[in-house]
Symmetry: C2
Amino acid sequence: MTETQQISQLGYALLGLIAMKPSTGYELRKIFESSPMGRYSSSPGAIYPALKKLQQTRAVATKEIQGKTARAAQELSITSLGKKSLTAWMRTLPDSEDIGRDFDTVLLKFSYLDLLQDARFSNLYLDAIEEGLRDNLKTVQDFVNALPKQMPVHGRMSLDLGLATIRTQIRWARQARAQLNSEKPNA
Amino acid sequence: MTETQQISQLGYALLGLIAMKPSTGYELRKIFESSPMGRYSSSPGAIYPALKKLQQTRAVATKEIQGKTARAAQELSITSLGKKSLTAWMRTLPDSEDIGRDFDTVLLKFSYLDLLQDARFSNLYLDAIEEGLRDNLKTVQDFVNALPKQMPVHGRMSLDLGLATIRTQIRWARQARAQLNSEKPNA
DNA sequence: CCCCCCATGTAACATGTTACATGATTGA
DNA sequence: TCAATCATGTAACATGTTACATGGGGGG
């Protein structure tokens, strides 16, 4: 029964933040509220249960810290088991499914790649993103081309935005890879 | 108790499709599965309960149609009450909150605007989108500018994509408005 | 013959939202 | 003094996912 129980997406989002800097639940909530990265809940009814689950699975350890408030704050820090889970999560490359369905999570994972310190993997990750994006671009293009002429105008425009967005993302992936490789020519 | 009970986002997504063309639940599922517009469930456990709720609130009416299958298909068509709900939903302009939190739904609503046949409102809607996007762009830019230098590289890159995406969306909104106005110079 | 498509639906489960509770401290 | 902030948590509710059930018809 020592195996890692499954951790939710919100769980991984929290775990990544904790890995970068030990924090209390309240601080994590504030981060989600105030940063544009946080597409995740921020509501106490979501975060505290998720954190409790991370504790139960031994992914994080708690330490009471001295606040001047009524309730003692719990500072959470990642354990070696937690690091293992987080690393395994980060090391799974996204496919076109992931990219189309939940690009936010794909990007969140990318944001956390600093933790791995593995420039080669960052490159692979960007390759996977670009490839998945190209697949999706082709799928949408085929869909648009197959549309009947009397397709509603507004719907067609929305599809145009979808295409433009994917192209922007592809451009970004290429530039990001170039930037990573120019900054770290030391291998 | 005749008042319209609240309809979920999935409910509106379905209602809009039904408004464009009466369909069975199965057909609606197929649309969500196969079209890139469908960021909505497509799972029977989500769709059928949502459709049942639409029936209960008298937003749609059913008619059995003759399939050669075991279970008779129910063709759903929108009622005048349903049209009223759908119109009210479409006529609420998005603010920057909506745009940042759930742009997909904002776009879905835009896709359905053909139903309104109101070029002026389409313009207003695009104005609202552009304004909200500019707000969000500024918020993210301020956030990026306030970042400490030692901000993780990958996180910073993700923010760059966020900015690029918003800029793409703004460009689209402007072009879409121009396109609408050039196609319908008749007022 | 077996599997997939049609067509609807349910049950168990996971997850998230909203609103509330607690209670000390800080600022207007 | 009155509200807001810190800090955690629970309860009721809405929604969605996965997997399954049913059962006829068509294709290899």
